[in-house]
């Protein structure tokens, strides 16, 4: 794939919240036209990052830009928000407005508003137009937030846990929508704890832990490169051999050891063989395994 331009670029971004450094030197970029999954455990810094991207918080240091506009400049951030569809972590609206009022209110801010998308979302999500937003269930509020983000004719969608509270049918509809939006040329950046959703529609993932990116890659490439390597040794496992190798922790059970390797298979297999490994096997892994290994932490 040719290296496309990046829509979101974040460099050495830092943000301290109280005594915790929520974002601690984060680097990543989101290529134009991709669907990028933003992954990490609770408290990894996803929401803080997204809030900085959209001007709700200011970075302590480092920089970020969207469409080449600096995020910490308020006027620039207004221009960013005009071109960005956003679903926030808190899906709350004005309780005195009905669903219809809320849609009409939002429509006024975006001249590129797509009536076809509004209609499609209303139909697919079966939103009750005349209901007050305060009377909507959590899932319905998520759906309304999605309608507002998808219909505004944005160039970029930043979605913070968009499928939160959605039933499996609605979540699948969202995935269809995300794909269709990408097919129309939009870039989608979304955080989720539903790894299978990410695996299904994302071509790119950015995995963060403790405020830093631990894995940023094309998903297909990750699946090709990252394998579980299992070794069996005649007596004990030479732990020193594995130092500085692989993703996550080395698992040792008796004379067997296994770990995730990232494309360094061949050379490492040779070293393991030289160290006396009697059996070396590589098996493919899915995103969940990669996630658990890289950010699972010590148990």
């Amino acid at each position: 794939m040719s290296s496309k331009q990046s829509i979101i670029v974040v460099h050495d971004l830092r943000k301290r919240l109280g005594s915790i450094e929520a974002v601690a030197g984060l680097d990543f970029s989101v290529p134009a036209g991709s669907i990028c999954g933003f992954l990490g455990r609770n408290g990894a810094g996803k929401t803080t990052t997204i809030k900085m991207l959209l001007g709700m918080m200011r970075p302590d240091s480092g920089e970020g830009s969207i469409f080449g506009e600096l995020i910490e400049d308020e006027a620039a951030n207004v221009r960013i928000r005009r071109r960005t569809g956003f679903v926030s972590e808190v899906k709350e609206f004005y309780p005195f407005m009905t669903v219809r009022h809320t849609i009409e209110f939002c429509r006024a801010f975006y001249p590129q508003w797509q009536m076809e998308w509004e209609k499609r979302c209303l139909k697919d999500y079966q939103l009750p137009l005349e209901q007050k937003t305060s009377k909507l269930s959590k899932g319905m509020r998520s759906k309304l937030a999605l309608l507002l983000a998808l219909s505004r004719g944005a160039e970029l969608l930043v979605l913070d846990e968009p499928t939160d509270g959605l039933d499996p049918v609605a979540a699948e509809i969202f995935l269809e929508h995300a794909v269709a939006q990408a097919a129309e040329g939009r870039t989608v950046f979304f955080s989720s704890h539903q790894l299978h959703e990410v695996e299904q529609v994302c071509d790119r993932v950015c995995l963060i832990d403790q405020g830093r990116a631990v894995l940023e890659t094309d998903l297909d490439e990750a699946k090709t490169r990252i394998r579980r390597a299992s070794f069996t040794f005649p007596s004990t496992v030479p732990v020193a051999l594995f130092e500085g190798i692989g993703l996550g922790r080395l698992k040792i059970r008796g004379r067997s050891a296994s770990l995730l390797i990232n494309g360094e298979g061949e050379s490492f297999a040779a070293r393991a063989q030289a160290a006396g490994a009697t059996n070396i096997e590589f098996t493919p892994v899915n995103l969940k395994e990669i996630f658990l290994e890289t950010v699972g932490g010590e148990k």
Binding site: A182, A183, V201, R212, L219, E221, R227, V285
Partner: protein, 135 residues
Amino acid sequence: MLFRIHSDSGVPIYLQLVRQVMHAIETGALRPGDQLPAIRSLAEEAVTNPNTVAKAYRELEYEGIIELRQGLGAFVRANLPSAEQGQAMKQAHRAVGAAVTAMRKLGLSEASMRRVFEAELMKEEEASAPAFTRR
């Protein structure tokens, strides 16, 4: 034809698509000259990333299995990698068949055979590593 994606299988989705198209050609579900769905409609139908579909099509084109005609779409090639390739595939099937028989004799289970096969393939793949930092 119908595509089925197993997103959590560990096999890259573009590769699943490539395999399914090849399988469809082998079984006759797709014939030379047939048009494949447009990238966008396949992406929406299979609910997968359009870039991934595009990548699968590029891969298929590179393998000489389909032809991308500007503005018209993707078509199964009329002259598929033909005789030579067909011959090569037959030889490959024979070679793998022999290997499988040999491994059976060694008492290997199907799962172990797959792992051995994967491990061998792994040795071949030594492309550039994805961006990756270790804590």
